[in-house]
């Protein structure tokens, strides 16, 4: 059964990317274990505002585990101590009375801090803008059923496409690699017949952009896969590498 608990949180406060950050510890009483982690932060912020302080800035939006906006490095794990969830799905019943919880922003050079726990993930958009699409204009598509796709292939494509772009993979990786994210998108299109014609161009451009933006490479430690809230598999990275080599061989 859920009960109310008292906790301490150690939160990373940082005014901007240029300023030096520090941990600040706050006490919180009477937090319902039925509350979500972000609701706990709401309560803390409310408390801070009443005390005349500025609230802690963190990213969040849908609070249903799908928009990919929430982040937070909690007790050493992206999205906290549970598998296959985002921070907004983490609930306080995962914590005990008297716990001290450490909260940090995503840690990666590719994601500079904006303020406190909020980071800049626009690099992901830039990678997608470099080639993560099928070049088709609106209004000229053929009938959907004219492109048959086997059930199992479609399911695999959905597995890859279920990436929410939260960046936990990058934050979890000791190399700050974005390969799980990029490979998920590459895989989705590599599996499907649509956009096959520009597959080589797509993978080369996305990989080049990823490198240009300072993300590291994959060394197969699988930390990304472990921390991914959607269980995106690193087999996608293998698929991306194959696509990349195929594309390079054609050059």
């Amino acid at each position: 059964m859920d009960k109310n608990i008292n906790i301490k949180v150690r939160v990373w406060r940082q005014r901007s990317a240029k300023d030096k950050g520090r941990f600040v510890t706050y006490d919180l009483a009477n937090i319902s274990q039925g509350s979500s982690f972000l609701e706990m932060l709401d309560i803390l912020n409310n408390q801070l505002i009443h005390e005349g302080e500025e609230p802690i800035v963190f990213d969040h939006d849908c609070r249903e585990g799908i928009c990919g906006m929430c982040s937070l490095y909690i007790d050493g794990h992206p999205h906290g101590p549970d598998n296959l969830i985002t921070t907004c799905q983490l609930h306080m019943r995962k914590f005990n009375d008297g716990d001290t919880i450490t909260i940090e922003p995503w840690r990666s050079a590719g994601f500079p801090v904006i303020r406190d726990l909020m980071v800049d993930r626009t690099s992901f958009d830039k990678i997608q803008q470099a080639g993560g699409f099928v070049s088709v204009n609106t209004g000229s598509a053929i009938d959907g059923n004219a492109i048959p796709i086997s059930h199992d292939t479609a399911e695999l494509a959905i597995d890859a496409a279920s990436c929410i772009g939260c960046g936990a993979c990058v934050a979890a990786c000791k190399n700050g690699s974005a390969m799980l994210f990029v490979s998920a998108k590459v895989s989705q299109f590599a599996l499907l017949p649509q956009g096959r014609t520009e597959a080589a161009r797509r993978v080369k451009r996305m990989v080049a952009k990823m490198d240009e933006l300072g993300f590291g490479n994959c060394t197969n430690t699988r930390a990304c896969e472990v921390e991914c809230p959607k269980g995106v598999s690193i087999s996608n990275i293998a698929r991306m590498n194959r696509e990349f080599i195929k594309a390079k061989n054609k050059d």
Binding site: A141, G144, A161
Partner: protein, 646 residues
Amino acid sequence: MSQLDAKIPQGPLESKWSKYKANQKLVNPANKRRLDVIVVGTGLAGSSAAASLAEMGFHVYNFCIQDSPRRAHSIAAQGGINAAKNYQNDGDSVYRLFYDTIKGGDYRAREANVYRLAEVSNSIIDQCVAQGVPFAREYGGTLANRSFGGAQVSRTFYSRGITGQQLLLGAYSALSRQVGLGKVELFTRHEMVELVMIDGRARGIIVRDLVSGKLKRFSAHAVVIASGGYGNTFFLSSNAMECNGSAAWQCYKKGAYFGNPCMAQIHPTCIPQHGDQQSKLTLMSESLRNDGRIWVPKKIEDAEAIRAGKLRPTQIKEEDRDYYLERRYPAFGNLVPRDVASRAAKERCDAGYGVGTGQAVYLDFAEPIQRLGKDVVTERYGNLFQMYEKITADNPYETPMMIFPAIHYTMGGLWVDYELMTTIPGLFAIGEANFSDHGANRLGASALMQGLADGYFILPYTIQNYLSDQIQVPRFSTDLPEFAAAEKEVMDKINKLMNIKGKQTVDEIHKKLGQIMWEYVGMGRDEAGLKKAIELLADIKKEFWTDVRIPGQAIDLNIELEKALRLADFIEIGELMAHDALDRAESCGGHFRLEHQTPEGEALRHDDLFAYVSCWAYQGENKAPVMYKEPLDYEFIERTQRNYKS
């Protein structure tokens, strides 16, 4: 402007849209380059519109409040998107999709718009497939379909329970392509705070850069609002935390009419509220009702024992369960439309049969698990089950889920004509931000359809009819006095808010607003309650403007200021909703006027009195808004009382 012209083309229903397209004015490619369009929002409607307009050759500015267009709340839609493909050979057609949508909207939508929506639905599926949206497939490789609330055919296309995500990522990828090509200038973490008018036309916007807090000016030949709905007026809703009505509200205050503000859809399958620390509600896809069976205990003492924790649902024998939807609506059963399912749940809970906190009913998968096997159920609904378990700590494979209705989607919005233009020339509204296609009860799987229909296939045509007159108009300087005045107005409002330095936080006041809205302007409404709500809302408004506390600086990243600006608008939107609800003395859709029901407790419409769109016009600060009526002439179908019993 008091004369409303919906600009519906003459002629038979089936040929209105093709006739319109054949006769509208076009802009030639060389001229398109010289025309700028602002698109506010990057959800299904906004990103598909921005991408399509850029593909055509217009120069597009696109804005969103999140860090990436991919975060727009369309991403959270779970169940699916409708189209009249008739792939299942079960008798579907454009006409039937049109008819179901009109009927599901309780005959409070425009026939011509809804027919066009059904007509382009098929192109949407083709477009998305071509973009690489991974829809579910049959073993033969063809697209799979499932059925959804309110329909007797299987016309819903889906990707597991993440259809909204897949469709949005499809539109986002089309948008990303145009951003990469430099055809769309994208501004993330920017919020529209004011509309700029020049000579009576929409010519630009003022945005607040949410990172620096600075105000910026943008000019264009036309402005498209695709900023979603205002469901967060209720504080607790299924909307994302950032969803707000402010962009649309600024347009209303500048003279755009607001259509049917009181029509908010209630979604029947939401995870019930657990306590007062809660920040929002989470939906479970309506697709769960395809297999899940909804029930409460038949005996009131069983319900009491369950609430006291003395009995578990699995201990209630089959014959002691009341599958009330199957009992009351044998033809549709658990698949009745959202308003009917919602109201029936509330009725059972009000009568004392609720479970959990008393404000919940069961959605049970024991029977489908037995019939189909756990693997099939997992493939169909696995991610939803996982989500439910994370939030509630209950395993829905073993014990029934608990659900309760919640505010979901707002059918009201900026009034638009057939071209999706508001009453302000050059200002368009698409997707949830307009009022046009859903009438009084949006059916499941039709919001995604409308967002993409507007963005991919309707606005890109109709906006040209307006822009063709604008090719001689050179780009506007943002140094014009109209921009300076608009910016000053915003800055004054911000300074006023910052200087209140009161005692209550924005969230505390927002919660109070939400309680008033749910209590008096929610699922069940009556005249006395609505009048009381109007008084209470005036008090809340006063409280907000004298007692809100916003820390930090005005020109800086300031999350409390962002929320305060939105709350100021939510309070006013709430007032307009209450006024509109008071006027509409009938029950239609999710809007149930307690004084107007049939002897069986079903919604009772008054077609003779209320077959109109209420179009509200702003009259100025502290002045009552004026309502104009757009009559809804049903030229092609006959209005009947909705019946899901037989």
